[in-house]
């Protein structure tokens, strides 16, 4: 009988029988043909497995000369683990990926940084300390490399022939591509297209009525993806030099609700930091929709630490989610719990917990009374909050924190008098009333008082009814959470991507403030930081002469309050300042999901050129399918679209030009760990195989970096070519190649703090970096061996022993927790004019205009609530991997059997799922691990790009892989927000794309 991998218990009898017969027949027909001789395997016993890259025996270590093993970074998902690549040097091909044992994302503990490369290999053998330093790669990372040789890869520059989106292309030379996009002209026989040269007008306003919108050069917008080691340095250099403020990553489709909510909690909307539990040492983890091992970043590290903590240490954990993730296993008994919940109602659950904690005074009172950093130090605590700060409630200055100069005023708990927070160690926590300051009377309340008021806005019963979790369960979890002191932790991430995700995250994090877990071992951590790389001891690689200083309005209306526009001033003069024409996002950094629609609307202005790099907002934006695709197909909305991408995806098929790019281990980069770690780490990469795509005349492969340099030079932009990099001694250096930046950034890393040792010849040889030695000597001079030391190890990593100082983290988050966030509390929604709450507050799923989902989409018509969940295997950039579908072939519509019964549906049925705006079809999988009356879809398949569809190049059809189309893309049934005119549904505060909690109906096909 044929082996089959995944055997779900929920198959009906008929389904099981059919599959069994098919499998059996196949094997028997195959073995019946004995006369048919197969291919000879490479080896009689070892079959076709490649030889080991080295051997270790009692006689020592012997490298295999046919292979090199180089450190690199996997960018198969956003975790970006440090890995090692095994390269067959005869064919210059990758044959395997292994973990990098120096890297904390692949090993824990990781190797002491001063371990020699040779020892790093022997330690991972049968003769070393394998069980200690085991270094791994996930299901994605193990197969990602086959994208390099994908036949669907773009190897030469493409120009569209035919209409946008038809997926018909011709290959052109890169010089022609650059010439056309710079100079413009009648490029497609559809009329004149403005070139970049003409777009770059940094003087004339883009909208004469709104000077604050900035110059016409803002007509260029660049969308990247997550920072994967190149974007920050190259895209930003280009755009700053060009003179546009318009650049986005993919956060608004990914985890912006979480990011924004945590930025509010941590009081930093500039850097958007976020916290993660100290997974290994926490005693109780309450995860809201982010089961470690299934979801969350860092994927592998979280899974590893959880597995260890529940087996060898003392963790108990509860996952609150509409779907039971892979954090659970029956093998660990009562350490693991799952609480099913209705999607988009986590906020009700968490507000319920906060109510129980606050009303029963279960919080850490002494901690919350700490009013300043000075008091924190005096009391030997590790963090502090603004819970005792006083918020002005009078109409003038509403929402401001009462201060004297820059110092907040608090009521001293010892004598109830108003004093600067720096002069008080314990302040009054719960207060509302009048205070006198500077001869004026203010009506104020403490931040804590406002929070207490908000959590009591609804009853526990009401919260329970909303979320489907009983009051008793909430009581149990609240008491359990506070019973572990500082060693309780919370987590949330992509599950907050719905219309009230900002406040959901803010409330989840607030649970941590109640016990004071920030900066504590077993509590919450903002991460261990990184060594200085682009800006460091030797170079500031962001600096160059001639940078434009454009302060203006972004196309996505982020980082800007509506109240600063002339539109507001005029409407106010007419007596009705609200609504604005569309929503503005005063404390959001960037919104990829808004760009195309805003340009189509011409609000705030129209774009001339869209450039993208590895972006895929059509696949990634819930609701884009209904509208954005059509807008992008019409050049009127954005006249020129240039995509940099090694593949043609759902978005770049609408491009006018496609510039090839390097894939994975062919490229350069430096990345930092997102969160969930306690020590400094920089993971780097450099090409370990020759890029497969075409090259420029100077021999540089055509890819993101070389293209931006060539484009910068063609446009005569400052910061490219000669005299573009200045070292800290004042000497200028040219920027012509990627290595001009990266080897210098690596040198900065090597020289930060106490410089690293010199790499030995053996280190260099055994890490496969000999080819870089001439460039290292030329660029890094006396420091070349130190730079090589960092490259050989795939980065620089602080030793694990430096993680903690006693019961506290070594790397602490320094700013105070914002129980009340003044930035939020002093802003209004630009459509409704309502004041944002500066503390967490409960809201139902709603449109920007305020209408609730339950009113717009009644249960009678849409009886189910749909959500997607993070795949532990699939990731959007992985579609082009041929091997990936061997690990996950398809995705399903997941339904609870009890819900299915109500609709007369069965396991394996083909079903149609519809929202008010779209329909998808797929197969039903019944699982008890799904909330009742909810519908879940694992995200990552149902593809129409990256090799899923046929593409015509030079008249020749390159067939797509139809298997990639299998499964469901739930974003195709995403909602639109009619209260904004033309818009996909967003979080009403921060603008993140709302992909969860969609009201849907289901029927059998």
């Amino acid at each position: 009988m044929k082996s089959s991998r995944r055997k779900f218990l929920l198959g009906s009898g008929a389904v099981v029988a059919a599959a069994s017969v098919a499998g059996y027949k196949e094997t028997m027909s195959a073995v019946a043909t004995l006369s048919d001789k197969g291919e000879l395997a490479e080896d009689s016993i070892y079959f076709n497995s490649p030889e080991a890259e080295y051997s270790v025996s009692k006689d020592g270590f012997v490298p295999n000369k046919d292979y090199k093993v180089c450190a690199s970074t996997c960018i198969g998902c956003t975790t970006q683990c440090g890995i090692r690549v095994k390269v067959d040097t005869k064919n210059d091909t990758v044959v395997r990926v292994l973990g990098n044992p120096y890297n904390l994302l692949s090993s824990d503990p990781w190797l002491p940084y001063d371990t020699s490369i040779k020892e790093s290999y022997t330690l991972l053998s049968q003769h070393g300390k394998f069980e200690t330093y085991r270094s791994n790669v996930c299901a994605r990372g193990n197969v990602a490399f086959d994208k390099i040789t994908s036949k669907n890869r773009v190897l030469k520059p493409l120009k569209r022939v035919g209409k946008r989106g038809e997926n018909k292309w011709k290959e052109i030379e890169i010089e022609q591509l650059i010439d056309e996009i710079v100079n413009g002209g009648d490029l497609f026989g559809e009329g004149h297209v403005k070139g970049l040269k003409d777009v770059r007008d940094i003087k004339t306003p883009i909208n004469p009525d709104e000077p604050i919108f900035g110059p016409k050069s803002n007509g260029l917008n660049f969308i990247g993806t997550t920072h994967e080691g190149r974007f920050k340095i190259f895209i930003h250099r280009f755009l700053k030099s060009f003179g546009t403020v318009n650049v986005q990553g993919h956060t608004s489709n990914c985890g912006l609700s979480m990011r924004a909510g945590e930025a509010a909690f941590l009081g930093n909307f500039k850097k958007y930091p976020h916290l993660k539990p100290d997974f290994e040492n926490t005693e109780y983890l309450l995860s809201i929709g982010t089961p470690p091992g299934q979801a969350g970043n860092p994927f592998k590290r979280q899974g590893k630490l959880l597995a260890r903590a529940r087996t060898e240490k003392n963790i108990e954990y509860t996952i609150v989610s509409p779907t039971q993730g892979n954090s659970d296993t029956i093998a660990v008994g009562d350490r693991s719990h799952w609480i099913p919940i209705v999607p988009g109602t986590d906020l009700a659950f968490v507000m319920g917990l906060l109510q129980i904690i606050i009303n029963n005074k279960l919080y850490n009172d002494g901690y919350l009374r700490i009013p300043s950093a000075k008091a924190m130090t005096a009391l030997n605590d590790a963090s502090w909050t603004n819970a005792t700060h006083l918020i002005i409630q009078d109409e003038t200055d509403f929402g401001r924190v009462l201060k004297e100069g820059k110092v907040p005023l608090v009521l001293d708990a010892t004598d109830n008098t108003l004093k600067p927070s720096t002069a008080v160690t314990q302040a009054v926590l719960d207060f509302e009333g009048e205070v006198q300051s500077g001869g004026k009377t203010y009506h104020v309340q403490t931040a804590f008082h406002e929070l207490a008021r908000n959590v009591n806005e609804h009853t526990l019963d009401a919260y329970a009814k909303e979320c489907g979790v009983s009051v008793e369960k909430m009581q149990e979890i609240a008491h359990k959470f506070v019973s572990h002191g500082r060693k309780a932790s919370v987590d949330c991430h992509g599950g907050t991507m719905h219309t009230t995700g900002f406040y959901t995250t803010y409330a989840v994090m607030m649970l941590g403030a109640m016990v004071g877990n920030l900066n504590y071992k077993g509590g919450m951590s903002a991460g261990g930081g990184a060594y200085k790389d682009f800006v460091g001891k030797r170079y500031n690689l962001f600096a160059y002469k001639g940078k434009t200083k454009i302060k203006s309005t972004r196309i996505d209306k982020a980082r800007m309050a509506y109240e600063k526009t002339n539109e507001y001033k005029q409407k106010k003069a007419q007596g009705k300042p609200y609504p604005a024409k569309d929503t503005w996002y005063p404390f959001t950094n960037a919104l990829e999901s808004e760009v195309v629609m805003n340009s189509a609307k011409g609000y705030p202005y129209k774009l001339d050129v869209l450039m993208t790099a590895a972006a895929n907002f059509i696949y990634g934006t819930s609701g884009a399918n209904a509208k954005v695709e059509k807008l992008l197909a019409d050049p009127k909305n954005i006249p020129l679209f240039v995509a940099i991408d090694p593949f043609i995806n759902e978005t770049t098929r609408y491009a006018d030009y496609i510039v090839p790019d390097s894939v994975l281990y062919e490229s350069w980069g430096i990345v930092h760990v997102w969160a969930g770690y306690q020590t400094k780490a920089n993971t780097l990469r450099f090409p370990v195989v020759k890029p497969r795509q075409a090259s420029f005349k100077n021999g540089e492969p055509i890819e993101l970096i070389s293209f931006m340099i060539a484009l910068g030079k063609k446009l005569n932009l400052p910061g490219f070519g000669e005299k573009a990099i200045k070292d800290n001694n004042g000497t200028w250096h040219p920027l012509n190649k990627a290595e001009d930046i990266y080897l210098r950034a690596f040198e900065n890393v090597a020289m930060d703090g106490k410089p690293v040792p010199d790499a030995t010849d053996e280190d260099i040889q055994l890490s496969g970096i000999e080819a870089f030695v001439p460039s290292l000597k030329r660029i890094c001079g006396a420091n070349w061996r130190k730079t090589a030391y960092v490259m050989a190890r795939g980065g620089r990593f602080q030793d694990i022993e430096e993680s903690y100082q006693g019961n506290k983290l070594s790397h602490k988050y320094k700013k105070p927790i914002q129980v009340y966030n003044e930035t939020v509390g002093t802003k209004r929604h630009s459509i409704t004019g309502e004041r944002f709450s500066g503390t967490p507050r409960y809201f139902k799923q709603r449109m920007n205009g305020g209408e609730t989902y339950e009113k717009l989409f009644p249960k009678s018509e849409y009886p189910l609530t749909a959500f997607s969940f993070k795949s532990n295997v699939l990731a959007t950039p992985m579609a082009a991997s041929k091997l990936m579908d061997q690990i996950r072939f398809t995705t399903y519509v997941d339904l609870n059997p009890k819900t299915a019964e109500k609709f007369g549906l069965h396991h394996g049925d083909k079903v149609r799922v519809s929202s008010a705006f779209g329909t998808v079809e797929g197969y039903l999988r019944l699982r008890h691990g799904v909330m009742l009356d909810c519908l879940g879809v694992e995200h990552g398949l149902g593809r129409n790009g990256e090799g899923a569809e046929d593409v015509t190049i030079n008249g020749k059809v390159i067939p797509g892989n139809a298997r990639l189309r299998s499964g469901i893309d739930i974003n195709k049934i995403g909602l639109l927000d009619k209260s904004r005119g033309l818009a996909t549904v967003t979080d009403f505060v921060c603008g993140s794309n709302a992909r969860h909690a969609m009201p849907v109906k289901i029927e059998k096909v």
């Binding site: 009988m1 082996s3 089959s4 991998r5 995944r6 779900f8 218990l9 198959g11 389904v15 059919a18 599959a19 196949e26 094997t27 004995l34 048919d36 197969g38 291919e39 009689s44 016993i45 070892y46 079959f47 076709n48 497995s49 490649p50 080295y54 270790v56 025996s57 292994l98 991972l124 049968q126 394998f130 791994n136 996930c138 299901a139 193990n142 197969v143 091992g293 899974g303 590893k304 959880l306 597995a307 260890r308 087996t311 039971q324 892979n326 296993t329 029956i330 660990v332 532990n872 690990i887 072939f889 059997p897 396991h907 394996g908 197969y923 999988r925 797509g960 139809a962 990639l964 299998s966």
Partner: protein
């Protein structure tokens, strides 16, 4: 506690009996046919004399991530739709209290393998270090061993037209390294080593924790041991099939269907 202890005692005994059985059976009856490589005492046929490789799967540490499934496909060039190892992901119990259960599976490298005696050519045999291997130069591809394996862990390699299966990555193990699935196991659930070496992790883990094997009643004496295996999984393990197969058939990706229609599978 009593029950636990008695179980542990039983398993300890079981373990020492197993080690003994390997040495005896591998010479007496685990193969009866001639095999040129083995007769020539080629190291990769004989294995590492004096060692006894086993694997322990600590299910408390398995997160069902399929990293092992994935790396095995790459490391061993396993043909499409075939697997030397994989992890079944199952639910036990009903809403609102279902539990996830993961079961990593691979060749059990049995001390008394059912696949070896049925081989008519001597192509499959047990090395002296316990690894059951297939010599693809001798295998006819008759499929007897595939049908004999009570664990369904052998497959017919469509490219070589021979029986194929997990060999504990013998090509790496023979060079002092570890099986790829063990190297890449994120949770550290897979523990591999020489159980004859009392300092080894596998030996210590087997001493410390009660373990079970799959389908003990088959009498094959598996050398892959599980910590935390729920007995309910065994029934599911042998009776249920993948929903993927149904969808593949529905969507026209079933191999039999495609062959019947004379279509090549289009696989980018």
């Amino acid at each position: 506690m009593d029950e636990k202890n008695s179980r542990r005692d039983f398993l300890k005994k079981g373990l020492s009996a197993t080690a003994f059985a390997t040495l005896v059976t591998s010479q007496a009856e685990a193969f009866s046919m001639q095999n040129p490589g083995r007769d020539a005492k080629d190291a990769k046929y004989i294995g590492q004399v004096g060692k006894h490789f086993v694997m322990v799967l600590d299910l408390r540490k398995c997160i069902g991530c399929q990293a092992c499934t994935s790396v095995c496909k790459v490391e061993n060039d396993v043909p499409d739709e075939q697997y030397r190892t994989f992890v079944t992901e199952t639910e036990v119990g009903e809403f609102p209290d279902p539990r996830k259960a993961f079961l990593p599976q691979l060749c059990n490298h049995c001390a008394d393998p059912a696949c070896v005696p049925v081989c008519p050519t001597g192509a499959t045999f047990k090395r002296e270090d316990g690894i059951v291997v297939v010599d693809n130069t001798v295998c006819w591809g008759c499929g007897y061993c595939i049908n004999a394996c009570p664990y369904d862990k052998r497959y017919f390699n469509e490219r070589t037209k021979t029986a194929d299966k997990c060999n504990f990555c013998a090509h790496r193990v023979d060079k002092g390294l570890l099986p790829a699935c063990v190297e890449t196991c994120i949770g550290g659930a897979r523990i591999f080593g020489d159980v004859n070496d009392k300092t080894s992790e596998v030996y210590q883990v087997l001493q410390q924790f009660p373990t079970t094997v799959l389908k003990e009643a088959e009498g094959t004496n598996p050398q892959v041991f599980y910590i935390g295996l729920d007995s309910r999984l065994e029934e599911l393990y042998s009776t249920t099939q993948s929903l993927d197969d149904v969808v593949k058939a529905e969507e026209g990706f079933n191999r039999e269907w495609m062959k019947a229609r004379g279509e090549e599978e289009n696989h980018g």
